[in-house]
Symmetry: C2
Subunit: 461 residues, 2 copies
């Protein structure tokens, strides 16, 4: 008698936590902090708010290895009716949009709550006030894993006397703070390195970190984009048709897709042999498939816009690297936008040399995806792959050398290797852009090293 | 106005196909074949049936890069009422049990169907007859991604005149057969290498493979196990309590857990300071947490049984390696069962040397998890990590050398790095066992090389 079962997404991820980076108490300690800090940065920076983030870590039950983690931000807050949903339902998110955010899966906070429930049986505490709200809302929540629904244990609301806005969360997890401490410090340092407009304060056992804002210049928040016609698949086309079956094919293309004007739409439809006036609701299944295939094949689409992206920028990169790494030399480049499968992306690279950078047998690699520092799974990451395949002697680098390579990839869809969001997959277009970006700054390093060699020769003479 | 959305699991995986290995048409070609072949092997081997599997690949629309993939087995079949569920609902499976299978996530077949829907808009065709059934059932299905439900386009049933049993599936996907061909051949060859009781036939453009059975001796199917007390978490305990809140703590432990007899249960409860006669339904939240923590801490549990596992065995390993690699020397070892977090696992390792193995700068690594050959993501795999860290000169191996290392890890829960099931995460206990297993067979290789050197000296003299 074979038993067939269905699992809710919450139950499935509870059983397969390692797919989301929760492999042991050390990594869980790190993942808890990063998932909440990234949510706080999304809730501030993406809405034009200068981020102020507080992180507080305390031992809750040292014998059992339990730690409490508190993260507070001055962000855009969460509406009362949505608080139970965003923390109580796996695959629930405000970031399923075509826009650069740190979050992407609608899973992060829920994984931490599932981990806490599984190890300490403690609920999550949430306090939030949306921007301009005259009330503050507090919840104590758990997740019903069998149904993928929130369990509201407590709810309070009270007057927002001092017009606070933002979100505070607190969980109690089985976490190895002493083992994770170094990496958490590195994570926050690197976060700040490329977001020096963020103020981050961490209070923890044996660790106090204070990163004050070094600039009040916030990069403009990315706009929300439309899908690019090269990134379509049949399901997406069907979802869009269902929204308004009465649109003509011409209207359908210009309304729902990035960079498609009336002329481009008509040129495409002529090439693909479709009637521009046909209603999309009248397309047969085969025609829908044909339309999709042709959209992906057509070479006349405009390149994807970068308005939905938010690169760090060369100036801010250099400033942050100088402050954190204190090198003798630094060069940075922000490449022009490119795209893979219709998803726009930008690669930024920097090289830092000498100064307080310790000599090492191979380059120290700093990886970033959508402004998030990646500290695990380096072996699976395309950035590490590119750095290893470069012949550094061409740039006058002899190992051991005090060389750091910083690469930031930002996109409306980062092709993560796993739901733990620690490594970027080796998509061909992204790999090629990383190679070109690193070579560009490596050439500047070579110029500097050459100039230094000449100066030393003159000095010796 | 922030827009919050919920995605069904089908829609989430459609948007994040790369998390399940569907990164491009070459990999999709490979993944389609492996997901269906692994389902067929689970449906035969796990039920004591000698597997006969047919795979047929044809170009469906060469211009658009569309390929049809047909896989048929003589397995245990799928009941009529379950066919729409197992192919139409993400997270639906018969393998959410404590038992070794190739499948584990309840996702594989659905990912292929979602990929086909997204690229060619074609449904899946399924024909199945359960063991002993007098009817054969045919379905044409798609997945409703918004609701994670099957869409039944057609259904037929007819008389099972010749008492056939098994399952046949057919999909049409955008797949790059020429680029994937080599890896598919390697996958089937290696599958057969450790399952030489399986008969596998592949007919494809430019490729005909026929692997006839070399033995009719099928390893005994693994039994279904109970969870081990070391692998508990709070959620599992709560699910089990809910099943029958009237059980006493003593009964609860002996009934639901692997290897817990009355004596062990009482010893544990005494040590953990619980009343053995207390009803589990009367435990408070804090007591449930305390019980969970203590169960994971207790050192008096019996080691996990290996009855739920199905290793290949040294004899079959050697036989398969001889047939496929044709080496001069081969040694194999099946380690005793071990466990991590209460999940039993067994590591098997073999070394093959010389003969038709080509010399290479580093060992050729053959990785297997639950009898599935792993061909991608080698850089993320713990097996590759261990092989690289071994100093092979200790075993008289000088590179370039004709050396192949074969490692098989089997467990009731393989800690996969991602849902693409191509790499095993570096769990400490598993890594240590792999090191010990490889050293064991490496020492036998050293004996052989030493003996060979002596013979050559005598011959030269
Ligand atoms: N500090 C916060 N301030 C405002 N909104 C928040 C905050 N934290 C979470 N949210 C809301 O909760 C949603 C779910 O968060 P969660 O971390 O689970 O997923 P995500 O951030 O969308 O994606 P990912 O899984 O990649 O992190 C977010 O999309 C956001 O709308
Ligand atoms: N050829 C087959 N014969 C019998 N049952 C099958 C066959 N293929 C699929 N099934 C049934 O369908 C279920 C779902 O298959 P699917 O591949 O989606 O998930 P899974 O094999 O359980 O796990 P995984 O995602 O790791 O492959 C299986 O658990 C099994 O019960
Ligand atoms: Mg998040
Ligand atoms: Mg499967």
């Amino acid at each position: 008698e074979i038993r067939y079962e269905e699992l809710s997404p919450a139950e499935w991820f509870r059983r397969n936590k390692e797919l989301a980076g929760l492999t042991n108490p050390t990594r869980a300690m790190y993942q808890t902090i990063r998932e909440f800090v990234e949510n706080s940065l999304d809730a501030t920076e993406s809405y034009g708010i200068l981020p102020s983030i507080k992180v507080k870590i305390d031992y809750y039950d040292k014998a059992r290895g339990w730690v409490s983690v508190y993260v507070e931000d001055n962000g855009v807050g969460i509406p009362d009716s949505e608080i139970p949903n965003v923390f109580g339902r796996v695959f629930y998110s405000s970031k399923y949009r075509i826009r650069q955010h740190r979050g992407v899966f609608g899973l992060g906070a829920k994984m931490i709550i599932l981990y806490a429930q599984s190890t300490t049986n403690k609920p999550i505490y949430v306090r939030s006030a949306p921007l301009g709200s005259d009330r503050i809302y507090e919840y104590v929540l758990m997740i019903n894993t069998l149904k993928n629904e929130p369990i509201i244990l407590e709810r309070r609301e009270y007057e927002n006397k001092y017009r606070w806005h933002g979100t505070a969360v607190k969980v109690i997890i089985e976490g190895d703070w002493p083992r994770a401490k170094k990496r958490v410090e590195e994570y926050l340092k690197r976060t700040y390195m490329i977001a020096p407009y963020a103020e981050i304060i961490l209070k923890a056992p044996d660790l106090f970190l204070c990163f004050p804002r070094v600039t009040t210049k916030l990069p403009p928040p990315p706009k929300e984009g439309l899908p690019h016609p090269k990134s379509v698949d049949v399901e997406l086309i069907k979802h869009l048709i269902a929204r308004n079956p009465n649109l003509t094919l011409r209207e359908f293309l210009t309304e729902y897709f990035d960079g498609v004007g009336k002329q481009t739409a008509e040129a495409f439809l002529k090439w693909a042999k479709f009637d521009p006036n046909k209603k999309v609701g009248d397309l047969t299944e085969d025609e829908i498939t044909e339309l999709t295939t042709k959209m992906r094949e057509f070479n006349g689409w405009r390149r994807p816009k970068a308005d939905w992206l938010s690169p760090v920028g060369e100036e801010l990169l250099i400033e942050g690297i100088k402050k954190v790494l204190e090198p003798e030399f630094v060069a940075a480049v922000t490449r022009k936008p490119s795209s893979y499968m219709g998803h726009p992306f930008i690669v930024e690279a920097a090289i830092a040399w000498g100064g307080r950078i310790p000599p090492s047998d191979k380059p120290i690699v700093y990886r970033f995806a959508n402004k998030v520092p990646l500290l695990y799974d380096e072996g699976s990451d395309v950035i590490r792959k590119v750095v290893e395949e470069i012949d550094w002697s061409v740039y006058k680098v002899k190992f051991p050398a005090p060389l750091a390579v910083i690469v930031h990839v930002c996109s409306t869809k980062i092709p993560y290797v796993s739901a733990g969001k620690e490594a970027i997959a080796d998509v061909v277009e992204i790999e090629e852009e990383i190679v070109l970006a690193i070579r560009e700054v490596a050439r500047k390093l070579r110029q500097y090293i050459t100039k230094k060699e000449k100066e030393e020769e003159i000095y010796i003479k």
